[in-house]
Amino acid sequence: DVKVTQSSRYLVKRTGEKVFLECVQDMDHENMFWYRQDPGLGLRLIYFSYDVKMKEKGDIPEGYSVSREKKERFSLILESASTNQTSMYLCASSLEDRANTGELFFGEGSRLTVL
């Protein structure tokens, strides 16, 4: 069964702290993605990666960075958390031929609150 695991379901951090959100997939997928979900704004793409050590900016990359050192792991980093980064963060993965199926597999999400 397909599995995308996000390390923390709920986090509370203070403004200025460095935050790491970890995501691991066990499906040997090439592609991995980080989205954030906010009320009234839907899911917005932050960063994605098509291969190890490769990353591309999504639609809202400001204030974030990512790391993909291994195929199965994709980390989202908030260098200095701010209150406007309070959100639900969703990691997803897909096969390289996602173009044929369109299917992303999502983790359960990490709800981050920045005080």
């Binding site: 989205y35 839907g42 639609d59 999502f106 359960e108």
Partner: protein, 114 residues
């Protein structure tokens, strides 16, 4: 600029009736469309998709219709069941143009009334 729009934030439907969720898009390069379903405290799950070469795709109780000239797609659920209560996101990509990134709509919360 919201390229994929779901203008109804919420929808309530009686159990057994048809649920129709709508989605409009502005980018004419979009050629692949998907619907995702999301329960609270869970990640979205893929529901159904359609390529722009088709105007209809069915999968059990779920049917997606695509009207390219109107840049509009809809998801029909027949009959609606209580387990269908969730937030539904439509998404689009421009695969034929080399852009496989999914652009999501804002979501519609569907509530099925028993």
């Amino acid at each position: 600029d919201q390229q994929v729009k779901q203008n109804s934030p919420s929808l309530s439907v009686q159990e057994g009736r048809i649920s129709i969720l709508n989605c409009d898009y502005t980018n004419s390069m979009f050629d692949y469309f998907l619907w995702y379903k999301k329960y609270p405290a869970e990640g979205p799950t893929f529901l159904i998709s359609i390529s722009s070469i088709k105007d209809k795709n069915e999968d059990g109780r779920f049917t997606v219709f695509l009207n390219k000239s109107a840049k509009h797609l809809s998801l029909h659920i027949v009959p609606s069941q209580p387990g269908d209560s969730a937030v539904y996101f439509c998404a689009a990509s421009a695969i034929g143009f080399g852009n496989e990134k999914l652009t999501f709509g804002t979501g519609t919360r569907l509530t099925i009334i028993p």
